[in-house]
């Protein structure tokens, strides 16, 4: 063997055995974002980076001046390794953090300057701690992690210890002493409560648990802090034992994640929906009351995972997503999405629209398949309540005319947003008498802005909605049959009419007067171009297109939550067309492709990447 080959083999095996940042992702991670092309981020300033929500866990360490004026390049991070951001939620805890490579430890600790080295319980592992965060270094890779028990679990444990020690209800005050009105303490507490968010205010404002008489005994809050701290330590130990001793990480636990990591796109995304559903706290009642049913339903979701790739092209950003299903859920989706595209909808989408979508499903087939899959699970449950529900469903299944039901609402629909138009309305004006300046009210015509939208449903039983409309028109004169369309006066916000068109196998709601009065058979030559229509037809069960330039910049921040604003901020100021296409759904998967085409080039492609990843993080969290 030539020396060159030996070196090559040694180099490859060295690489294979080298510690990589992804090896430190814990198994408990349910959502992971991996940035492959980390080099893109070299120019990102650390101050900018820590503003992202996915960095919130370490913000308290980094917002102390240690990052000022530095870029990621100066932070000692190894850009040849991936940066992996993860989040997971167990039944009684949350875990979040990220893993990355280290090139220069000295520089790294100039940024993470609040971390103190503590004795490591694991050989060959460096262990650092700062407040709630832990930094674990193995070779040239690091894991920054925070594990938090849920407050419900902490409270449960604290209550248990508190009562077992013979304490009274911590919220009960035996002797209420009336405090004089001007008491400074009360004013102070009142001010605290005034400043608190309403939802955080305790229900009984002044009923704090009192400190015990014995100063060596912890009061309720001190006990709770201790419980939280112990639980945190235990949870972290369990996680680290699994990761560092048993060598079980997400890569070894889920082959689909390992496979996704081999992609060369700029970033990859992983969301294990099955674990996300199982660990959802909203299901605790279900889990407690009907454990076997819960297990069966859990099985339904087994195998459900979302895998995504983020690609940066010259003039577009592409997000490819694959929704993989388990057999049972997959069979329902497959039947649901097995539907012929209704070409009639295309006639009702104006070529100058701001946004539109087409959604093409077969509700009847989905119902039949869901009945086949879910009913045996429900029937097996030995519970009076569930059994009664099963009987109700079975009887409805027998008695209800499914042909009429699913013929009326087949499941396919479309929607358009056609911008803002002036609509006619009335207002009251005051007119003044010149002699006395007395005034009288007069109703005059006015105009107000109204977003113009259309929503339509495919139906093969147009006679059924017609029956309902006829009935309504007998009840109120606000409902009128205008021949080719129906009008419901003042239906929208008591000011504008709603039009209904029941034609061509479609039942359409719109506030677009032009469509109702002049185009009940569609927009004709002003409808979507053939090229655009073809895109909708070719897409799987869904197609959507939005002109961001017109839509997103008009969304004021105040109307959204902080999480929604994260997503909007990522889009704000960016122009172009966003397009969502899907493939045909099989039992195993559906592919989604979201492409954002824009004019010009990236100012900072790394920034784009982080914006997108942060948006995904916020959505999936």
């Amino acid at each position: 063997m030539k020396i060159k080959n030996i070196i090559a083999i040694l180099f490859i095996s060295g690489l294979a055995n080298a510690q990589k940042s992804e090896d430190l992702i814990p198994k408990d991670a349910v959502t992971v974002f991996s940035i492959n092309n980390f080099n893109l981020l070299q120019k990102i300033s650390l101050d900018e980076l820590v503003q992202y929500e996915f960095m919130e866990e370490i913000q308290q360490e980094l917002f102390d001046g240690s990052t000022s004026g530095k870029t990621l390049k100066d932070s000692g991070i190894d850009f040849d390794q991936k940066l992996n951001v993860f989040y997971g939620r167990g039944e009684d805890h949350e875990v979040s953090g990220f893993t990355f490579g280290i090139k220069n430890k000295e520089n790294l600790f100039m940024v993470f300057d609040d971390f103190e080295r503590i004795e490591s319980p694991y050989p060959g592992i460096e262990y650092y701690s700062s407040y709630f965060n832990n930094l674990i270094i193995k070779g040239n890779s690091a894991l920054l992690i925070r594990v938090e028990p849920t407050m419900e679990k902490v409270d449960e444990m604290t209550d248990s210890i508190w009562y077992s020690r013979g304490n009274e209800n911590p919220w009960y005050i035996d002797d209420y002493i009336e405090v004089p009105e001007e008491n400074e303490e009360e004013v102070f507490e009142e001010e605290i409560f005034e400043e608190m968010e309403p939802e955080l205010k305790p229900e009984s404002n002044y009923e704090f648990p009192e400190a015990g008489e014995d100063p060596t005994q912890k009061n309720y809050y001190e006990l709770r802090d201790s419980v939280q701290s112990i639980m945190q330590t235990q949870l972290l130990k369990e996680l680290c034992d699994e990761l560092l001793i048993e060598k079980t990480n997400l890569l070894t636990y889920d082959i689909r994640f390992a496979e996704q990591l081999t992609h060369t796109s700029e970033g990859i995304f992983y969301l294990d929906n099955s674990r996300s559903v199982q660990k959802s706290q909203g299901l605790w009642y279900f889990q407690t009351m009907f454990p076997s049913l819960y297990n069966d339903m859990k099985e339904l979701y087994t195998g459900n995972v979302l895998l995504g790739d983020l690609l940066l092209h010259d003039n577009s950003v592409e997000f490819k997503m694959e929704a993989r299903y388990g057999d049972k859920i997959g069979s329902i989706y497959e039947q649901m999405n097995d539907s012929k595209f209704d070409k009639n909808v295309l006639k009702y989408i104006h070529q100058d629209n701001t946004a539109y979508f087409t959604y093409n499903i077969n509700l009847r087939q989905a119902y039949e398949e869901a009945y086949k899959v879910v009913m045996p699970i429900l029937t097996d449950e030995r519970n009076a309540q569930i059994s009664a529900n099963v009987l109700t469903i079975e009887l409805l299944n027998e008695f209800v005319n499914k042909d009429a039901l699913f013929g009326t609402y087949k499941g396919s629909m479309f929607g358009t947003f056609n911008g803002i138009k002036k609509i006619k309305t009335t207002k009251i004006e005051f007119t003044y008498d010149e002699i006395t300046y007395e005034y009288i009210e007069k109703e005059v015509e006015a105009e107000e802005d109204m977003p113009i939208f259309t929503i339509g449903f495919t139906t093969e039983r147009g006679d059924i909605p017609e029956k309902v409309l006829n009935h309504l028109s007998r009840l109120t004169s606000r409902f009128q049959n205008m021949g080719s369309y129906w009008i419901y006066e003042d239906a929208i916000l008591d000011a504008a009419p709603l039009y209904m068109i029941n034609k061509n196998g479609l039942f359409i709601f719109t506030n677009d007067e032009n469509l109702a009065v002049n185009h009940t058979n569609g927009f004709g030559s002003s409808a979507l171009s053939k090229k655009e229509a073809k895109k909708s037809k070719k897409s799987g069960f869904m197609y959507a297109q939005v002109d961001w330039a017109q839509a997103i910049d008009r969304f004021p921040k105040d109307f959204f939550s902080a999480e929604q604003n994260e997503i909007i901020d990522a889009m704000r100021g960016k122009t172009g067309i966003m397009e969502l296409t899907t493939t045909k759904t099989t039992k195993e998967k559906t592919n989604f492709n979201l492409v954002y085409n824009f004019g010009g080039t990236y100012d900072n492609s790394g920034k784009y990447l982080l914006d997108m990843l942060n948006s995904l993080y916020v959505i999936s969290k």
């Binding site: 803002i420 309305t425 207002k427 010149e434 002699i435 300046y437 107000e448 939208f453 929208i492 000011a495």
Partner: protein, 226 residues
Amino acid sequence: MKITSFIAFLVIVLSFTSCIEIIDDISIKNDGSGTLKYTVNLSSSKIKINSILALDSLDGRKVPTIAEIQENILSFKKALEAKSGISNVLLDYNFTDYIFKLQCDFTNVTVLQTALKEVIQEVSKEKNIPELEEIWLNWDGTKMVRSIPEITVKKTKDFKQEDIELMKQGNYTSISRFERTVDKFDNASATLSKNKMAVMIRTNPYALTQNSNIIENTIYLTPIKN
């Protein structure tokens, strides 16, 4: 999200054309007693108001229901009726066109100002509002000096950009009526009715926030004929 909420949301987000009209009308009799009429007309913005009312919360705050607004209006009326020197309190509200009218009689202008100050303090639950201490209406039997309560200016200065746009398109009309004819007045933008017994100043609410003196006026009346 319900469809009505969704439409409401779109309207709020996408439309900014709306305006407000305020008429502030005071009649003073020779003995110093009189009638205050205060009208707020939001009929030009009813789509936007209906949109807001269709939402559960806006800007992080709960949107009151019509019943809650009615309740607040009635508690304002009740509080005003209880003030000495104030009588015939009428409150008319129209939730179709969004027109709200307050009318009350007062024995003298000091009583009116004190009553309004106390009612605002009771309703807002703020005990210390320095702007309420200011005298905005003065009558000595021969002349009336009036301005706009400073609290109105203060509150409108906190408004956001969208609200400022709304105010720019709005109208603020201030009318002063008397039992005898007006001799002269200071404010050059004021006009005199043809019967010479009423003075009117019209501006927009935004201009008022920028210059609260815009509406300030001293009106001199002709002497009472014996």
